[in-house]
Symmetry: C2
Subunit: 198 residues, 2 copies
DNA sequence: CTCCTCATGTAATTAGTTACATGATTTA
DNA sequence: TAAATCATGTAACTAATTACATGAGGAG
């Protein structure tokens, strides 16, 4: 989904500045499931303005740049509705460095794996705590639905780590595991516990 | 995480061709949590070969290009171990067009939302069914751990939709919702049910 | 007879990220 | 006094995606 459509969608919830749109994607209604930065938002907003899909009025502010508040035009609304009604969504894309690293747990020091795992769990729990402070009554029906889905996913991850994390670390510490067959132990892995019987 | 490290990690599970590495990321051990295509893999493998982190032997094949089987060199193993041990992982990035669209459910026809929701659920259930056919005994300990985490996440999504999807569609059909305030009904939304009392 | 799998690779396009540039106010 | 928040925007760089180019064999 391109930055322009994302901005259009954000503006459907009311007029906003580029700065505010980014906050929505970072901690607000869209938190977590569609990252987008300034470098994408500002050019998108400029393009949208040139196409007449949004309008903009500047609010002068003391000591900082004018706040540019963008708002959907009727054409912008139509474009959003059309995109949502006819475009088939691309498949979800999930990128996780942590999970990739964890899948190679045997290659790392168990203490390192433990750290990675704890940090990952804490991140998800923090997200959950942050979400608990949001008031679903202030959301639209659609937002509330995906908000609940996000909570379900984060809880599932935290619970899974709580239930299975210790067993992973213990297996690693005991050296009781299948090592990846592509590694033949020729590198300087001074901290890696070897499998019993090697 | 760059394509080179991803390839190094894949090769830790044994020698493989570019084609096979892609399969691992698409349906194998790394399925779902780190998409990567040919356009990233082949150049990465070429660079890795030039750096001496992998070696390669060509297997001639009838009627198709020679299969180039890459394998980690001791330097490649060392590079992988170093990256995994010292690099701090980037935050997870999740991009979901479907979830973004669903958050604007009020802007769409309820039948369209229903379709989107069903397709999304089916995709996750299919993933789950596909995963059920994999044998965890053939995986390394790390792979098995993240495999289980993936299952937990997909189940959580499917269950959430099973439990809450119908209520969303019904609310939409009844017109019983908070519409996004940025939309003022000026576009040609012929199919959208209006909120009672408007 | 068409589509999918196998199999590699380059080139062009597109998009996203990061760094730079500026600067006042508030909070710790 | 350092860091975070508010506030915008451009330029450079990096990376990913898509299309192109080739082609046999097997399944439906």
């Amino acid at each position: 989904m391109d930055a322009k459509t994302l901005c259009l969608g954000a503006l459907a919830h009311g007029p906003a500045s580029g700065y505010e749109i980014r906050k929505m994607f970072e901690e607000g209604a869209y938190a977590g499931f569609h990252p987008i930065g300034f470098g994408s938002i500002y050019p998108a907003l400029t393009a949208l303005l040139a196409e007449g899909l949004v309008d903009c009025h500047e609010e002068p502010q003391a000591g900082r740049p004018d706040k540019k508040v963008y708002r959907l035009t009727p054409q912008g609304e139509a474009a959003l509705v059309k995109t949502l009604s006819s475009n088939q969504p691309a498949e979800d894309k999930y990128k996780s460095d942590t999970l990739f690293m964890l899948s190679l747990a045997e290659v790392m020091d168990p203490a390192r794996v433990d750290r990675l795992l704890r940090d990952y769990r804490d991140l998800k729990v923090n997200q959950l705590n942050h979400m608990a402070e949001c008031d679903p009554a202030k959301m639209t029906t659609g937002q509330r639905f995906i908000f609940g889905l996000g909570q379900a996913v984060y809880s599932a991850i935290a619970t899974y780590i709580d239930n299975n994390g210790d067993a992973l670390i213990e297996a690693l510490e005991r050296g009781d595991y299948h090592a990846p067959p592509g590694l033949r132990g020729t590198s300087e892995r001074t901290t890696t516990v070897r499998k019993a019987g090697e």
